[in-house]
């Protein structure tokens, strides 16, 4: 499975948590380059549905992906709390649009459990696991899976 989960028990990982619609999700903080606000987006016709468009990040063209849409939620409505998580993958910068940033938490790898069996709607493939943290359930997302193109899945 994923690198994060195979980390030896006892080791901790830093996770950036955020909300996608009303679900509390997390990504490995090490993979996140930076978090930016949503600026003017240039839309691209015929791009995959989840692609919101492209933006300029200090001279680089960044593809913005509506994370919620990718996970199977309805289309995002950009608000004042909307943020973009910039992730570098294969020499390319991709921005994941989230609805609200929560915090950075430190968790032990061993605390993770596989996603519950009743997770449906094709979302399970994006989930690395779930865990409880201070009474809340955090879903750890698999960035690699999210960034995969549909025809690669």
């Amino acid at each position: 499975m994923s690198e994060t989960l195979t980390t030896q028990a006892g080791q901790t990982v830093l996770l950036a948590t955020f909300f996608v619609r009303d679900a509390l999700c997390a990504l490995d903080a090490a993979g996140i380059q930076e978090v930016i606000r949503l600026g003017p987006v240039t839309s691209v016709s015929y791009a995959p549905e989840e692609v919101l468009g492209i933006v300029n990040l200090r001279g680089k063209i960044v593809t913005i992906v509506d994370l919620g849409l990718r996970l199977g939620f309805p289309k995002a409505v950009a608000g004042p709390d909307s943020r973009i998580f910039i992730i570098e993958d294969s020499n390319e910068f991709i921005g994941l649009l989230v609805d609200r940033v929560d915090e950075v938490v430190e968790l032990e790898a061993g605390q993770w459990q596989p996603p519950p069996a009743n997770v449906n709607w094709g979302q399970a493939r994006f989930f690395q696991g779930v865990c409880r943290n201070r009474g809340r359930v955090i879903t750890l997302l698999d960035a690699g899976q999210i960034l995969k193109l549909r025809n690669e899945e």
């Binding site: 003017p40 240039t42 839309s43 691209v44 016709s45 015929y46 791009a47 995959p48 692609v51 468009g53 492209i54 933006v55 300029n56 001279g59 680089k60 063209i61 960044v62 593809t63 992906v65 294969s90 390319e92 910068f93 991709i94 960034l147 193109l149």
Partner: protein, 1007 residues
């Protein structure tokens, strides 16, 4: 050699130089081959020198196999130079192959010492042996040892080399360099010293005297000796100046093998003939503007040879020092400008900030230009590999072909140049293989046996254009199309609507080949698609032009540089897009008023008339699948773009500037989208997509075929029997398109539904201070009603001197079209007929019928009186209506009948004449169309006027378009009146007059 700690940079330097030499050698050899026995000494010398310099360096760097091979080629070339050997094609082939091997060895110099060069050595030795006199042959394999004094070793050198070296009055010296004192300490590099030597003579052999370095056990000797066996025409005293070593380390080796130190005075050997004045010193190769022209050597043709630098290897690039200097200067200026800007910002000095910004922008553009220049390389370097290719290929295929090169000095970005190599190779190969016919076939076709392939580079509007043309058999469009269909790449239907040019462009589809036979060279159907893909990647466009039997021409348009390209900015739906200038032909703005005139619709396709060329139009919004901006009644901005295969008009909402943009790739999610060529960041930091016009066209299913079909349909419409009519087109209910002849319309007013008043069951509106009666089409005809959502208009007609309004809806359009009017299918009261225009069915309204039906009391009583008058008894008028349009004939007939006349109809002038001839005394009035087949209205009139029987016949010419000139011609032909067609009032007026005349003088018609 690592123990000598030779700088790796030095090796790189040497290798780069070898590549340069090899690049020129090939063309030089080809030129030598063409010269045959009549050798151009300078040319041979140059190749010789190149081979020699490769050998020299190889010896120095201990690249033994390279050295050996270079040495063998040198020997052979030396024989050519001394006219002991004729450079036959066979000999040149061996040399070319040897140099190929050399190139291979140099490409992988580390492994070169393990390479097998046996076959080349044998071939070259045999070549040399074959041209040597018997007694000298043995010298090829004989080795002589030159003993180095004060060192217990000798230098092995072949007797042949030694004797060749002495030819031409040269002397052979043994020079001892101390690498440490003579070279290192003087801040020189061994390679520099070598080059110096090579310029003035020949290095026969170099040997490191490793023993001189001593062993660890010895006292440090601080010496590292290099023995060089050197042949030159220089006299001993001149040599000293060249080699810069103390005279005691220079020795002359005399013919008899004696070695004499130059420290002692040397008597000039009497036996030696004086040195011939050979041009020994030659400038280092520089790019010559004149490229090689590989024509069969005319005796007096100047044998120019180019020595173009080969595109250097990937990592390094050779740069002119002046260029570097200007870069430094600019960088300095940039710093100054920045300081100025900072200072002004601190002082908040607006003027200073402005001027600072201006300076920065100036320096930046200059900097950009210079930096771009550093990447520029002449295409000649790339071109120079093709003469060989053509030569070899032609030989293999049994064809006669030559390659002409033009414009080798044109410079282009290094990256593009490198990317161009494969596509060009492929295309040149294709030209020879597919294009040029076998000699017999060429002669039979009346062409010279020698085929010509031309490779030409030129600058055109900020782009580089490379043309590959041949005078061969041309591309068979049909064959390509058939091949594509049989491979299932396109359908037969698609092919049918394609132009020849587009059929030819099918070769760019994967798997299409035109070669009937698969040869070793081509015909396997891979290649042209790769060519296209490669060129696309370089931002290039390719066009094909070909005439069967006369040859074909491929034009490649390339941007000067890849990273920064000039582009046109446009916007649509609030987003901006960049279109690379390379694809933009021209910009056209069509004012709303001219829209109907300049554009046409064929089926679904809208086409644009550009100086009598019909090009398909594509709305950017449609292509991108976004709603079209509301642009009705606004001017259209059209960018005429060229996909390579065809051009089309891209309709955009707004045009902006042309700017230089930096191309950035789109992310993986957009990889498969051919609509875009990338993205760029604009001045305001926002991102704009760069459009790929070919991809957009493909998205919209726009092909050259569409354009062709469009123009064909348009032509067909023009050729149809219909006559040119000016129509006002408007809507009734949203999906009902109606039209009236424009002549009937006095004016058009916009109106809100609320302005329409309903009084006494009638509709009226306030208009110019009085009430305007209004009618609607659905009052009379079974059609839909106007809805309140539509933009209403009132079309005002003149009815017996009084205005009458027809309620209609936008959009309005004015068009001139040739109509085939169907007066039967949709005929009903108020609708005179229908016509199909641009795939829409248009109802042609009979406005008077409408008016009269809606307001029967509106029919003038006078007219009814007239009707009863003319209808009563024998005084009934007979009117002959001649019109080739069934609709208009019917209209006029009904109109004339409505006033009680008898009507005869004829569909053309000839038929009218027959009727007249038949009913000579019966016809009182002729209402004739002008434009008719067989016999037109004017000719008919002339015939009537020439016949005494019809002296009293009133002739009314009816035309939809009446210019003064036409009216004059009509009157000259004998027409009594010239009327606008379908002007009921005018016509009834004329009938009334004719009737009065008939009543007052019943005999007039028959006299």
């Amino acid at each position: 050699m690592s123990e000598l700690n030779l700088d790796d940079e030095l090796v790189q330097d040497y290798l780069a130089e070898c590549r340069e030499h090899l690049a020129t050698i090939e063309n030089d050899l080809l030129a030598i081959e063409q010269g045959g026995a009549d050798i151009d000494e300078q040319l041979v010398n140059r190749v010789f020198r190149a081979a020699h310099s490769i050998k020299g360096g190889a010896g120095f760097f201990d690249l033994s196999k390279i050295r050996e091979l270079a040495h063998r080629t040198e020997n052979a070339l030396d024989l050519v130079r001394s006219r002991q050997m004729v450079p036959t094609p066979e000999a040149v082939s061996i040399l070319l192959l040897a140099f190929d091997k050399l190139r291979e060895l140099i490409g992988n110099h580390r492994a070169s010492n393990a390479a097998d060069i046996g076959e080349f050595v044998v071939a070259l030795t045999a070549l040399a042996a074959g041209s040597l006199p018997e007694h000298e042959k043995s010298s090829l394999s004989e080795q002589v040892t030159v003993q180095v004094p004060e060192a217990n070793k000798g230098i092995q050198v072949s007797a042949f080399d030694l004797s060749q070296a002495r030819k031409g009055g040269k002397r052979v010296y043994l020079i001892e360099y101390d690498l440490i004192h003579d070279i290192e300490r003087r801040n020189k590099t061994p390679w520099e010293v070598f080059k110096r030597l090579i310029k003035c003579g020949t290095i026969l052999e170099t040997v490191f005297d490793l023993d001189s370095a001593g062993t660890l056990d010895d006292e440090p000797s601080n010496r590292l000796m290099l023995e060089v066996l050197y042949a030159t025409v220089l006299e001993p005293d001149l040599l000293e100046g060249l080699v810069e070593v103390p005279p005691e380390r220079m020795r002359l080796i005399e013919k008899d093998g004696n070695i004499r130190s130059l420290a002692a005075p040397v008597p000039v050997p009497a036996a030696e003939p004086p040195a011939p004045a050979k041009p020994q010193v030659e400038a280092t190769p520089v790019t010559q503007a004149k490229p090689v022209i590989a024509t069969p050597a005319l005796e007096d043709a100047p044998k120019t040879v180019n020595a173009m630098p080969v595109p250097a290897n990937e990592a390094t690039i050779r740069l002119n020092v002046t260029l570097l200097d200007s870069l430094m200067t600019l960088a300095g200026e940039l710093v100054l400008s920045r300081n100025q800007l900072n200072e002004s910002l601190a002082r908040q000095d607006d003027r200073g900030i402005r001027s600072g910004a201006q300076r920065v922008s100036l320096v930046t553009s200059e900097l950009q230009e210079v930096v771009t220049q550093t990447r520029m390389q002449p295409v000649g370097g790339l071109f120079s590999k093709f003469p060989r290719l053509v030569r070899d290929l032609a030989r293999d295929l049994g064809k006669d072909a030559q390659l002409k090169l033009e414009g080798g000095e044109v410079e282009i970005d290094k990256t593009i140049l490198e990317g161009l190599s494969d596509p060009l190779t492929h295309m040149v190969r294709n030209s020879v293989d597919h294009g040029i016919e076998p000699p017999a076939e060429r002669v039979a076709a009346g062409k010279p046996a020698l085929g010509t392939v031309t490779l030409k580079a030129s600058h055109q509007a900020g782009q580089v254009v490379i043309e590959i043309s041949d005078d061969g058999k041309g591309l068979a469009a049909e064959k390509i199309a058939a091949s594509s269909v049989s491979k299932g790449l396109v359908t037969r239907e698609q092919v049918q609507s394609m132009s020849d040019r587009e059929k030819m462009a099918l070769v760019f589809l994967p798997g299409v080949s035109t070669a009937e036979k698969v040869s070793a060279v081509s015909g396997r159907g891979v290649g042209m698609d790769v060519v296209k893909t490669n060129l696309d990647r370089l931002g290039g466009k390719i066009e094909i032009d070909s005439a069967p039997g006369q040859g074909s021409r491929f034009r490649i348009k390339l941007p000067l540089t890849l990273a920064i390209i000039p582009s046109l900015l446009v916007s649509d739906g609030g987003q901006r897009f960049a279109i690379p200038q390379v694809s933009v032909g021209e910009l056209i703005r069509i004012p709303a008023a001219q829209l109907a005139q300049r554009t046409d619709r064929v089926g679904d396709a809208q086409i644009l008339n550009v100086r009598d060329r019909l090009v398909p139009m594509l709305y950017l919004a449609d292509a991108l699948g976004v709603p079209r901006p509301d642009s009705s009644l606004r001017a259209l901005n059209v960018v005429l773009v060229d996909t390579g295969a065809f051009e089309y008009g891209l309709v955009v909402e707004e045009l902006h500037d042309t700017v230089e943009i930096v191309v950035k790739p789109l992310g993986r999610h957009m990889k498969g989208l051919h609509d875009y060529a990338g993205a760029t960041i604009l001045g305001d930091g926002r991102v704009a997509a760069i459009l790929d016009v070919a991809g957009l066209a493909a998205r919209a299913n726009l092909t050259a075929g569409t354009a062709e079909t469009a123009s064909r349909h348009a032509a067909a419409e023009t050729n149809s029997s219909g006559e040119l009519h000016s129509l006002l087109v408007f809507h009734n209910a949203p999906n009902e398109t109606c039209a009236v002849p424009i002549e009937q319309v006095s004016r058009i007013e916009r109106v809100r539904p609320a302005q329409v008043q309903h009084l006494g069951g009638r509709r009226t509106m306030q208009y110019c201070g009085s009430s305007l009666p209004l009618v609607a089409l659905h009052d009379t005809a079974a059609v839909g009603e106007l809805s309140e959502e539509q933009q209403w208009v009132v079309i005002v007609f003149e009815r017996l001197g009084r205005p009458l309004g027809l309620l209609a809806a936008e959009p309005l359009d004015m068009l001139e079209a040739e109509l085939n009017i169907d007066a039967v299918t949709l005929r009903q009261k108020g609708i005179g007929g229908s016509a199909v225009l641009k795939d829409r069915t248009i109802l042609l309204l009979d406005i008077f019928e409408l008016a009269d039906a809606a307001r029967p009391e509106g029919a003038p009583s006078e007219l009814r009186n007239l009707a009863s008058a003319v209808a009563s008894g024998d005084h009934a008028l007979t009117v002959l209506v001649a019109d080739d349009s069934e609709f208009f004939r019917g209209q006029i007939q009904r109109l004339v009948e409505s006033v009680g006349c008898k009507v005869l109809t004829a569909e053309d002038g000839e038929a009218a004449w027959e009727l007249l001839d038949h009913h000579a005394g019966e016809v009182d009035l002729l209402a004739t169309d002008i434009e008719m087949p067989r016999l037109d209205g004017l000719a008919l009139t002339q015939r009537i006027r020439a016949d005494g029987r019809f002296a009293g016949l009133q002739v009314i010419a009816l035309s939809s378009l009446a210019g003064e000139e036409e009216i004059a011609r009509g009157l000259a032909a004998g027409v009594n009146e010239y009327q606008i067609k379908l002007n009921k009032d005018e016509l009834t007026d004329s009938i009334r007059k004719a009737a009065r005349r008939k009543v007052s003088d019943p005999a007039y018609a028959t006299t």
